[in-house]
């Protein structure tokens, strides 16, 4: 597994990702069957490889009852939908799944194999058993293709409520004979998770997986990618759209529209705020010194200025800027392989963000989107992680 930021594929990601890779952002791409048909995925996979990116295919069994026309182009879809009701898979269907996973991953020249899995719910034994069987099918394919097989560990909302349930799920997941983990955590419907306690649970679970010594890819990380390498993940997956910023079950339900924020003004993602600010409405209300601190640029933000007359930065470019900015910061953090150092790097950035938000408030501006709601709590959660799980970090150091 490549170390650093990965692109989490979402709706209309294919060219978006190419632009990012061309700008040097990202070490790999996780292709989503929900968002691109198989023929296109094969074509784009070649292009991604041509840009020196690794490619993974996320079979997305999370909500197996869901399907759409793009998913139907993949042979893996038959198995998905078949197990949706019973949460079981019979031996003949496992054979079908093996063939399907082989066909898709070999067609994409995948660099690793993400095993299909349902969302782990409250430690339910039937789901654990099903996921074990799904993993065994995937492992067979990974071994045949000569690529690592990553166990999928998506911890559902019902499991998040209890540390003990999470531990049971992790004990199961870490018993699988895998070569790494594709790890996601379901939060509430907040745009960006802000609960100190729940963020800590997410980081703690990730740290537990990392302590196996196997690589962890923090899936659906979004802005939380700042924390991923601090809890020992090797990779962190970043998408351009808010429903890719955390594991969002509703993404696999009926969608009334494509989202995208409608006519909302673009949000400028500032690495110094570790959050967004409305562009230009809020930016222009700040004194120049704060504007200069906030406007952390990327190749996709050159049009943005603090000029009162500025307008017309496409929302789409705001997304590109955000992903590029997060990837850049994650790349810098990833250059150091020590999780404790990486956690402290994240803390430094968060402290800067907290201070800057305080300065914005002092300047008399109240941010409309409540985008300062989580940085302080992330900081506290990371501090908790470093303090309460000091021995885990020591253990990771012993493994290195």
């Amino acid at each position: 597994m490549r170390r650093g930021p990965w692109h989490q594929f979402g709706d209309r990601s294919q060219n978006f990702v190419i632009e990012q890779l061309q700008q040097g952002a990202g070490v790999g791409v996780i292709i989503s069957p929900r968002d691109i048909g198989m023929d296109h995925a094969i074509a784009y996979s070649q292009r991604y490889h041509g840009l020196d990116a690794h490619v993974l295919f996320d079979p997305q069994f999370y909500v197996p009852g869901f399907s759409n026309t793009k998913m139907e182009t993949y042979p893996t879809n038959l198995t998905r939908t078949t197990i949706s009701q019973t949460h079981q898979i019979m031996d003949p269907l496992l054979v079908v799944l093996v063939k399907a996973l082989h066909a898709v991953n070999s067609s994409l020249s995948a660099d690793g194999l993400i095993a299909p899995a349902l969302i782990y719910e409250a430690g339910r034994p039937d789901i654990m058993q099903l996921n074990r069987r799904l993993f065994s099918a995937a492992k067979q394919v990974g071994d045949a293709l000569g690529i690592p097989t990553y166990a999928t560990v998506i911890i559902g909302n019902s499991a998040v409520a209890s540390d003990q349930t999470i531990k049971e799920i992790l004990s199961h997941a870490t018993s699988l004979n895998c070569e790494g983990f594709y790890y996601g955590f379901e939060f509430s419907s907040e745009r960006i998770p802000s609960s100190r306690e729940i963020v800590l649970r997410c980081c703690t679970a990730g740290l537990t997986l990392a302590c196996t010594g196997l690589p962890v890819l923090h899936a659906f990380a979004g802005p939380m990618a700042l924390l991923s390498l601090g809890f020992g993940a090797k990779g962190s997956a970043i998408g351009h759209f808010k429903n890719l910023w955390q594991f969002t079950r509703s993404r696999w339900g009926p969608t009334p529209d494509q989202g995208g924020g409608g006519n909302a003004p673009p949000r400028f993602f500032s690495s110094s705020l570790w959050g967004t600010i409305i562009c230009p409405d809020e930016i222009i209300q700040l004194p120049p010194t704060l504007q200069n601190q906030i406007l952390t640029h990327s190749p996709f933000s050159s049009q943005v200025s603090s000029s009162r007359s500025f307008s017309g930065w496409p929302v789409w470019d705001a997304g590109k800027h955000m992903v590029h900015t997060i990837c850049s910061v994650v790349s810098v953090i990833a250059a150091n392989s020590d999780p404790r150092t990486n956690a402290n790097s994240a803390l430094t950035i968060l402290q800067g963000a907290v201070t800057l938000h305080q300065n914005i408030a002092t300047a008399g501006l109240s941010l409309r989107d409540n985008t300062n709601a989580y940085q302080r709590n992330w900081q506290l959660a990371m501090n908790d992680l470093l303090t309460n799980h000091s021995r885990d970090f020591d253990y990771l150091a012993l493994l290195s």
Binding site: P125, S171, S175, T208, G213, Y395, L398, L399
Partner: protein, 283 residues
């Protein structure tokens, strides 16, 4: 209750071997030091008539699949039946030496270099079992022989898999609780589907702790079974032992991690522990 066979009777039943001396019997096997016709020293274990054949099959399958200096070597398995004569035995290499129990005396602390060498080899043997998806499930001092050169050999594996917990007593008699001294939390719970190679890591963590600190992390002389189980489930008091706290941090980390209550928090596999112990040998 150990399964005992008088040595004279054993000699009569297995005349192709020369019986030298009885060894510590197990609950289901009477063990002897024997010599074969070439004079080779061997260990012959006569299997009790009521012994579960599935367990034997599992043990033989495991023994046949492994070749490692820290795991006992199978020589022969015999099961035959003629009128008036039944033979059911396992013949293994004879390991000249002692049980680990003799080296884990209360109050006796090993030097860290000695512990490192010994337990690196033990975890190497366990790693070989891991590779073959074999879980010993009954690691304890009497199931680890120590060769005369000091290296460990894991014996009697495969049997503990079906340990019958209902046969344990509730008496406060320490002798009565025997094996549970090295039970992991998941073994205490009796959730067999939770038992995996990390169950062995927990037991070996108890052994490592005993070697380094000179006492068992959970067991004491007057403990009842339920108290022992509670301690295994919940107690972290062993982390506060003065002798534990004086260990170098790296040793505390690896020993503490082996003894974690939840499998996910233990080392991922024995090979990982083997590598770490090698790394901290000089500390």
């Amino acid at each position: 209750m150990p399964f005992n066979v008088p040595i004279d009777q054993a000699q009569a039943d297995y005349p192709e071997y020369t019986f030298i001396s009885p060894l510590t019997p197990g609950e289901q096997k009477a063990a002897f030091h024997v010599k074969d016709t070439q004079g080779q020293d061997l260990c012959l274990k006569i299997i009790a008539p009521n012994y579960n054949i599935d367990r034997v099959d599992r043990e033989i399958q495991a023994l046949q699949s492994i070749s490692h200096p820290n795991v006992v070597r199978l020589i022969e398995y015999t099961r035959s039946s003629k009128p008036g004569q039944q033979k059911h035995c396992i013949v293994e290499e004879f390991i000249e030496g002692t049980d680990l129990g003799q080296s884990l005396q209360s109050g006796q602390q090993w030097s860290r270099p000695d512990a490192s060498v010994f337990f690196t080899a033990l975890f190497s043997g366990l790693a070989a079992l891991n590779d073959l998806n074999i879980v010993h499930r009954d690691l304890k001092p009497t199931n680890i022989r120590v060769r005369t050169n000091g290296s460990p050999v894991i014996i009697d594996f495969g049997l503990a898999r079906l340990l019958d917990q209902s046969s344990l007593t509730d008496t406060p008699d320490g002798a009565a609780i025997g094996t549970p001294q090295y039970f992991s939390p998941e073994q205490c719970r009796g959730t067999k589907h939770d038992i995996d190679h990390r169950t062995d890591l927990f037991a070996s963590g108890c052994l490592l702790y005993q070697a380094l600190i000179g006492k068992h992390p959970f067991w004491r002389d007057d403990i009842t079974r339920s108290e022992l189980y509670d301690a295994i489930y919940e107690s972290n008091d062993y982390l506060d032992e003065p002798d534990f706290l004086t260990l170098p941090e790296q040793w505390q980390v690896i020993t503490g991690r082996l003894l974690k209550k939840e499998r996910a928090d233990r080392p991922h596999n024995a090979a990982q522990v083997e590598a770490i112990l090698q790394k901290i040998r000089e500390i």
